[in-house]
Symmetry: C2
Subunit: 382 residues, 2 copies
């Protein structure tokens, strides 16, 4: 696995991520396929939105269908019909979220399945082995992610354990051409801890670096402030992945601070709850004002999605038809990919600052008025 820069503007980077299952332009948004499916989408349709990498979740997949079963069936790519690269998380974050169902020790985490209460254990070694069985192009180091805010002593002890786990994860990882493993920077919103974490990870050496422990409820300004000193401290020649982020505005700000990769359930989850992301901000399709609106969601909607009127989408959600979540998930993922392609193009063109100002101004304007829509200049289309 390798990441190659194509262009830089300020901290922002446009590059190419080469993996065993293909090359992906960065910055890139990775749709989340928790249980071996991006919810309400065929893999074909995900691909058609322009997605390069999809995510799988170790915690969910180890419970069902089971990593050995996935391996016997030919690996996660074959099982879920996704021929492109796959990134799997380590299970650490999700196991931590189990609360009373899990017990942490220096060696790893013992937990009970949220499905049937059966006992399981994850360690840096077993998490890495599971991700190997799943055939992940990008394996994540097993880490601990404390809730914010937390006292520095808690953040420090947790970060240091994560770094010991990172070293064990690295030792357990089987290097193969086109495959790679990312270490995860921890340390909360503490600059000194973040920089120590980076130093520890770089000493171990990974194919890429993730920024963990953000997007856990803190304000955007705090996340950006943390990125301001974290991202530039990471190796210049490796991909950088901000875990669990985010809104279009979050991603734009993070790219401008040097991040290359994102994942988030937001566009797919929003799609299932009638929320559509557009160039003019988010629309709630359950709103009665869409009842008779013959327009597609956006003048930029790619065919074949622009065949559907807002009125029809409103109807589908009002009648609880499965096609509603199907179409709106599709729309949101297509919007996220369109946004990342454009941001990348403007990094390459060297005018990202201007484009960012344009994007933010458009988001702030709110939905297109009917007159404005009908009179829209063609050059606004992309």
């Amino acid at each position: 696995m390798a990441w190659v820069a194509e262009a830089r503007q300020g901290q922002a980077r446009a590059g190419w991520l080469h993996t065993a299952h293909g090359t992906v332009p960065t910055p890139t948004f990775m749709p989340v396929g928790t249980k071996a499916t991006v919810k309400a989408m065929t893999a074909d349709a995900v691909r058609a939105t322009g997605a390069g990498v999809v995510l799988g979740n170790t915690y969910h997949l180890m419970l069902r269908p089971g990593a050995e079963r996935v391996a016997a069936l030919g690996g996660l790519h074959k099982v879920m019909d996704w021929p492109g690269p796959i990134l799997t998380d380590s299970g650490g974050f999700q196991v931590m979220s189990l609360g009373a169902l899990r017990k942490l020790d220096e060696d790893g985490v013992t937990f009970r399945s949220h499905i049937d209460g059966s006992p399981h254990r994850l360690t840096p070694e077993s998490s890495t082995a599971i991700q190997h069985d799943l055939d992940a192009d990008i394996t994540m180091a097993f880490d601990e992610c404390p809730a914010l805010p937390a006292p520095k002593a808690v953040l420090e002890a947790s970060m240091e354990r994560s770094m010991r786990w990172a070293a064990r994860s690295r030792k357990a990882f089987k290097a193969r051409p086109g495959y790679g493993q990312f270490g995860i920077v921890q340390g909360g919103t503490d600059r000194e801890l973040r920089l120590r974490s980076i130093k520890a990870l770089v000493a171990i050496g990974f194919e890429g670096y993730a920024i963990g422990g953000l997007a856990v409820g803190e304000p955007q300004a705090e996340m950006f402030a943390t990125l301001d000193y974290t991202a530039p401290a990471l190796p210049e020649d490796k991909p950088r992945y901000l875990m669990g982020v985010g809104t279009p505005d979050d991603m734009l700000g993070a790219v401008m601070r040097g991040v290359d990769m994102f994942d988030c359930v937001m566009p797919s989850r929003a799609g299932r709850t009638a929320r559509a992301y557009t160039e003019r901000g988010a629309l709630n399709l359950r709103n009665a004002r869409f009842k008779d609106d013959p327009r597609p969601l956006s003048p930029y909607e790619p065919s074949p999605l622009n065949r559907y009127s807002r009125a029809y989408l409103h109807h589908l959600f009002r009648t609880d038809e499965i096609l509603g979540p199907m179409l709106l998930t599709w729309h949101n993922l297509a919007y996220y990919q369109r946004l990342m392609r454009l941001i990348r193009a403007h990094v390459v063109a060297g005018d990202l600052e201007g484009f960012a100002a344009f994007l933010r101004a458009q988001w702030a304007l709110g939905d297109w008025g009917r007159a404005e829509w009908d009179g829209r200049p063609d050059e606004l289309r992309f």
Copy 2:
């Protein structure tokens, strides 16, 4: 609208149905798109299975989104992105099923919406006008469908009212090139009533004739016995539609008795409950024996559906992922269309009897064994 025969074998007919929105080979199975969507499918995907006509339900569509709204949005074809022909039912059957919520009189039916209890009324005239607003290629006459079994006097009174309503429906229908209206034969399982009903409808004159009041819980043998005298009494040069039918075996038997058109929620509903129709009968994908089965559902599965293993489908249903219903609905509709294409080809070839025996023998065999699957002759593929 016109129906043209291409070939006949015994009572079975292969033909072409010409409509304002395209020509469809018959016999044909029409997927049900109750609320302006075939559940869990895009219209594109329905089209790709080979479906020619889809069905819309007047009762559901008049309540939501409303027929006038559909008309203002450009008609049902445009709203649901289905460019092919659409058949709408009259609302009669569904209003009758409301039980205590409806009140029947000679002029029509007053009923309360099952959604919000609001009062509504359907008459032959209003049902026909609603179907006109929806832009249905095939409008159904408004009729009453009594539950079976029923005393002859009840069947007779109901049939005679339906015939008076058929005459009023016809009078309300606006003839346009490519559009047509079907009368509905009633009379339960009583031969004399069925023949009187046909006589009355033919005297009125329709572009096609439907056989109603069957598939309401009676044994298959009784349905077939009714078809044996009903279908041959219908005009030879008009299409014949058996409403609400059915299983693959029901449809095969009905084609052999002279039926050209079918609709049923079975393949789509089954798809949402993990039931898959195959050349070897139905499979329940929730069954644990599919947990590690790497095969597609059937060796005849059309690409791209054969990319998915039974193990993956089992996993999707076990984890309640939306993709499970999506893929299995797709599979079932594709199987139904494949079956109808083959039945039609064998009518044209003149060997339907032999093919029917082959189909029934295959259904009875049950799922393919692994050895049998691996050694299957290529000529079995279609």
